[in-house]
């Protein structure tokens, strides 16, 4: 599991690669949260394009970052989920509160 975070015109873009499960979600969460607290971006984009597996631990990760961004006055977007991961997102109903592109 790898996280690369870069800044694009005020948006923090976190590109995740590998598998998101309960075991490695914590490290991802801590890395993203550290960046958000330090950089205070206007918005956060989580790019799932390189994610090869995600279970409901990924939903918890996204919901938690959405809450944090709201608390910071910003917003969250999820980018590039593979079709299979889109099914997990759809099942959770998270697309009602987070923009998925």
């Amino acid at each position: 599991m790898k996280v690369d975070i870069r800044s694009e015109r005020g948006t923090a873009v976190a590109v995740l690669s590998g598998e998101i499960d309960h075991h490695n979600a914590r490290a991802v969460r801590e890395e993203i949260d550290r960046y958000i607290v330090a950089a205070q971006p206007r918005s956060l984009a989580i790019d799932l394009g390189k994610i090869t597996f995600m279970d409901s631990s990924g939903i918890g990760l996204i919901m938690g970052r959405s809450k944090l961004m709201k608390e910071c006055g910003g917003m969250l977007e999820v980018r590039n989920p593979q079709p299979y991961i889109r099914r997990v997102l759809k099942l959770s109903g998270i697309e009602r509160i987070v923009k998925v592109t």
Partner: protein
């Protein structure tokens, strides 16, 4: 239940074994030549069941999780995830979407919903103090070619 092939895998309830459980299931299912979607569905359901056992069954301690995978006739896959942990006092409540007893760990409470949605059949049997057994079945599409 006519069993064509089966495998049993026992692991300590360490979170690192969530991916090991998925790998075991994937390796076993290769013989059935599943579609990408079928394999993803089963891997995800197994990941949810094993994660539930890791997170909830042995809180603060470590115990064993037993994963059984069987290939039945007519391309039906049987999966059982069994622990001897604390058990669930109210299974119906635990199976409600978004219900979780571990919000501090950012658990979404969707584990059983995913298992139910991605598999054909889900059964949860639990007894407080004795443990929990999750059984799932899924029939694979006919193998063409």
């Amino acid at each position: 239940m006519e069993v064509i092939n089966s495998i049993k895998f026992t692991m300590p309830s360490l979170s690192v074994n969530e991916s090991a459980a998925r790998a075991v299931v994937s390796s076993f299912l290769i013989q059935t030549d599943p579609t990408v979607e079928e394999l993803s569905d089963i891997r995800t359901a197994v990941s949810e069941a094993v994660t539930n056992a890791v997170v909830h069954a042995y809180r603060g301690t470590c115990g064993n999780i037993e994963l059984t995978v069987k290939l039945l006739r007519d391309r039906e896959i049987y999966i059982r995830v069994k622990d001897k942990g604390c058990g669930i006092s109210d299974v119906d409540k635990a199976m409600e979407p978004l219900y979780t007893t571990a919000p501090e760990e950012e658990r979404s409470g969707l584990g059983f919903s995913v298992m139910e949605s991605f598999m054909d059949k889900l059964t949860v049997r639990s007894m407080p103090g004795k443990g929990t057994t999750v059984t799932m079945r899924k029939r694979l599409s006919p193998n063409v070619g």
